[in-house]
Symmetry: C2
DNA sequence: GTTGACATTATGTGCATACATAATCACAAT
DNA sequence: ATTGTGATTATGTATGCACATAATGTCAAC
């Protein structure tokens, strides 16, 4: 037997994962119970439980009380990315970051925006358009609505000093959010801001964020042509 | 005191998270140690540990031995998405899925592809181009390389029955992968396949996947105009 | 003042035990 | 066949305890 190894939960985790990768336990198949594995590996059930829990949250196995544990039949792939604040994104490329606020007005948004942000009719919100630059070259055009009822402090901040992006990330906690990516042909407005040709193919991302059930901000970013977003699987 | 509540780790988790959201403990600030919290909440240290561990993996707090636990100063936002197989994506919209393989050849890829897939010089790989349709309308154009040294079984599969996508997801386990999204102007080749105009703005995603240190597949998908990818924060 | 040895401390983990909970099965009643 | 009921069982969780490990602080030696 090779059971003389250590039995940290990471070890158990790797051994179980190995058995799944090499198809000792195939997708859909029931794998031995915690108690059995604990005996087999010579450790406590708690340790097996910990290892299996990690595998379950990683989506490798499906667990159900009484029914046991099965190797997940993969139907989806989970991808994730850490989206840094724009300043960091620029500086990571060794470029100098700058930004400028182009418009900033408190006004009543159109019905679509009103609905998404769950504002009451005729309620105003803060609308800010700004440009982020890398070494003086337009990098991202930002079109943002901020719910001043959720974040009243925002009205007092001087956004010529700190970018809205940065201020919000550092000062407002979020409970949930949605992030939609799309390829669009640049509009006249956006093309002018980014100094590209109207109709050029660019990436846009729309992000809506929430603090419990109150909307925080709704922002659309238009990236300069060629921008890539990288995720890991 | 309101310490008469239950003390499941989820409860403790929520109470700590509440204290962070309402800024009782602000970003960067040191929060009380496990032992202290355990006493305060009237539960075992293990339970506090479990709650804090979840918060740590969610990126809400940073923990260091001896140094204690701090509320994370947010500098990045984590976004995730579950990418389903294309069939599911189409059928979820209530449309009928179909696909056709356009080319399938075993050949030596160019140097870029060879490098990315870590093939040896002059080693061949399987190149497959196919089209996915929703209700008969082109949906995604797929350009894929498969490493036949990692997955030799692939040569025996009839890809007119099952799509490559589907077969791989169900039959090949992965250990890691990278996923890059970009907005591109459609090339002549892709425009023809998707039945759109050359130069139209479309989303492309390139995905490279690995089984330990051996490459599995390198695939680029070109989505029909207007396609959106949705992530959650 | 710098270095290095050692104590201290907060988190990290393993284990035995007990009980909770959800799903399933077996079997009887209808 | 269907429904209901209770036993069974695998996972889920709480706890006390012990020890491991990584950072940090202290203090003496140089």
């Amino acid at each position: 037997m090779s059971n003389t190894r250590t039995h940290t939960w990471q070890d158990i985790h790797e051994r179980i994962r190995g058995n799944i990768l090499n198809r000792t336990w195939s997708p859909g198949e029931l794998i031995p119970g915690e108690a059995e594995l604990a005996e087999k590996f010579g450790c406590a059930r708690t340790t097996v439980n910990r290892a299996m829990r990690e595998l379950a949250t990683a989506g490798v196995i499906d667990r159900k009380r009484r029914a046991g544990t099965r190797v997940t039949v993969q139907r989806t792939r989970r991808v994730t990315a850490e989206i840094p604040i724009i300043r960091t994104q620029v500086e990571a490329q060794g470029l100098e970051y700058s930004f400028c606020v182009q418009t900033k007005k408190l006004l009543v948004p159109n019905t679509t925006i009103t609905q998404i942000m769950r504002l009451r009719a005729q309620q105003k919100a803060l609308h800010i358009q700004s440009l982020h630059l890398a070494n003086g070259v337009p990098f991202i055009h930002e079109d943002r609505w901020i719910n001043t009822h959720t974040i009243p402090e925002v009205l007092k901040v001087d956004f010529n000093q700190t970018s809205v992006n940065e201020w919000l990330v550092e000062n407002v906690p979020l409970t949930k959010g949605e992030f939609v990516i799309e390829a669009v042909a640049s509009s006249k407005r956006v093309a002018a801001a980014l100094e590209i040709s109207c109709g050029d193919s660019i990436l846009s991302s729309e992000r809506a964020t929430w603090l419990d059930d109150r909307s925080v901000t709704l922002v659309t970013l238009y990236y300069a042509p060629g921008h890539q977003m990288v995720f890991t699987i």
